[in-house]
């Protein structure tokens, strides 16, 4: 059994690009696709109240109702245990970067809940990966010194990693919407065929909020 953990970004991204069917095709007997309650709030519960995003929210809700995307209870993780772990993760991450004597709150509950779920699964030796389009969370765990430099440059003041506890949270693995559509294309699971299909799919994910450069798209196309 392996678990694909979805942050809000890839669901929103694929919904806006009419590619949500990819999740259904990627799901297999030995893989569950899971979202946390906080992510569900962001992609379904809250936008359902806003007419402009109602359709997208309904599409995502349908995937949950049909069991394509599940909540953590499906794999035996209670809302309470996830909530407790999320609070710990949130507290550790938001006590990491410091400037002028103040810790900077860089992440919110939704992203922290994905990390918390990944941590719980890894502790249980269950293979998992987090799909997340936004850059901050990935950068913190993959190259934290980059976040330190980026924030120092943007804020025009020295931002330092003042606490290294985040490094003990685990070795997280991250992919983004572009990698999801890339895999779907490679496995011939997308409805779009032809020479230019992959490029079109990758750029579509970029323009709906995935943090990916043109150079990265070029290198993925070559694979």
């Amino acid at each position: 059994m392996k678990i694909l953990i979805l942050d809000s970004g890839p669901i929103i991204n694929l919904s806006m690009n009419s590619l949500l069917y990819i999740f259904e095709k990627l799901k297999s007997k030995d893989m569950e696709i899971i979202i946390t309650p906080s992510v569900k709030t962001e992609v379904v519960d809250y936008p359902l109240r806003i007419k402009r995003f109602e359709l997208g929210a309904l599409r995502a809700q349908q995937l949950i109702e049909r069991g394509i995307i599940c909540l953590p209870e499906k794999i035996g993780i209670t809302a309470e245990s996830l909530s407790q772990e999320t609070k710990k993760v949130l507290s550790v991450i938001n006590s990491t970067l410091k400037t002028d004597g103040e810790y900077i709150r860089i992440v919110s509950e939704a992203e922290s809940s994905c990390l918390a779920l990944s941590k719980i699964l890894s502790d249980r030796k269950i293979e998992n990966i987090i799909a997340i389009d936004e850059r901050t969370t990935r950068t913190l765990f993959e190259k934290p010194e980059n976040l330190e430099s980026l924030m120092s440059k943007k804020l025009h003041r020295k931002v330092k990693i003042a606490n290294n506890d985040f490094r003990k949270l685990g070795n997280f693995r991250f992919i983004r919407s572009p990698e999801i559509v890339f895999v779907a294309h490679k496995k011939n699971l997308t409805n779009l065929k032809g020479n230019r299909a992959l490029e079109a799919l990758l750029y579509a994910t970029k323009y709906k909020g995935s943090s990916i450069s043109d150079e990265e798209i070029k290198s993925i196309k070559k694979l």
């Binding site: 694909l4 809000s8 970004g9 929103i12 806006m16 893989m31 962001e42 992609v43 936008p47 402009r52 995003f53 997208g56 970067l97 002028d100 900077i104 709150r105 860089i106 992440v107 919110s108 509950e109 939704a110 992203e111 293979e127 990966i129 936004e134 850059r135 901050t136 993959e142 190259k143 980059n146 976040l147 430099s149 980026l150 924030m151 943007k154 025009h156 003041r157 991250f174 992919i175 983004r176 572009p178 990698e179 890339f182 895999v183 490679k186 496995k187 970029k206 709906k208 909020g209 995935s210 943090s211 990916i212 450069s213 043109d214 990265e216 798209i217 290198s219 993925i220 070559k222 694979l223």
Partner: protein, 185 residues
Amino acid sequence: MQEKEHIIYVLKEAIQAIRTDNASKLQQLSDQTIHSASVYQDTDSISVAVTIYSISKVVSRKDSLKIGRWNSFVDKISSALGLAIDALEKGRVESFSSHLEKSVKLMSSFSNLKPYIQDVLRKAAINKASKLYEHGISLAQTAKLLGITRWELSEYVGQKTVNNNPYKTTISGKKRAEMALEFFA
């Protein structure tokens, strides 16, 4: 409230910029407020950033919006911001927030501007959220701070260029794609 002196400085400069129709200066001042908003994440800094950015949009489209009583518009907005400064100097934070809110209501009170201002305020919130994201705050956290949805923020952020900035590159696109292939194998 954090960085009170900086907010007072920004608002004083903003009044000058409004009086001289300097929309780009107003946008710069709004961005300056975002630096402290990123660190302290206090609602007042964020409100100042959104309000000044919204005013800049009205100033930049002054002619096309055909605001008949422009001088009166400038006087009223400047007066509201002046009262906000005064309240802040006296440490009356609630009164400060109320005068800032009043300046937004004043923009809407110019009858032909009402529908436009609602749109400007929403876009200003999205713009400021994307600036916070550029400053290293996560998308979910910025959406929460600005009271907007991840849906509208994702779309806006997608229009921004992501170049091969060394600060933004963590692992190569090739390596991540291979990791994905391996996971889904």
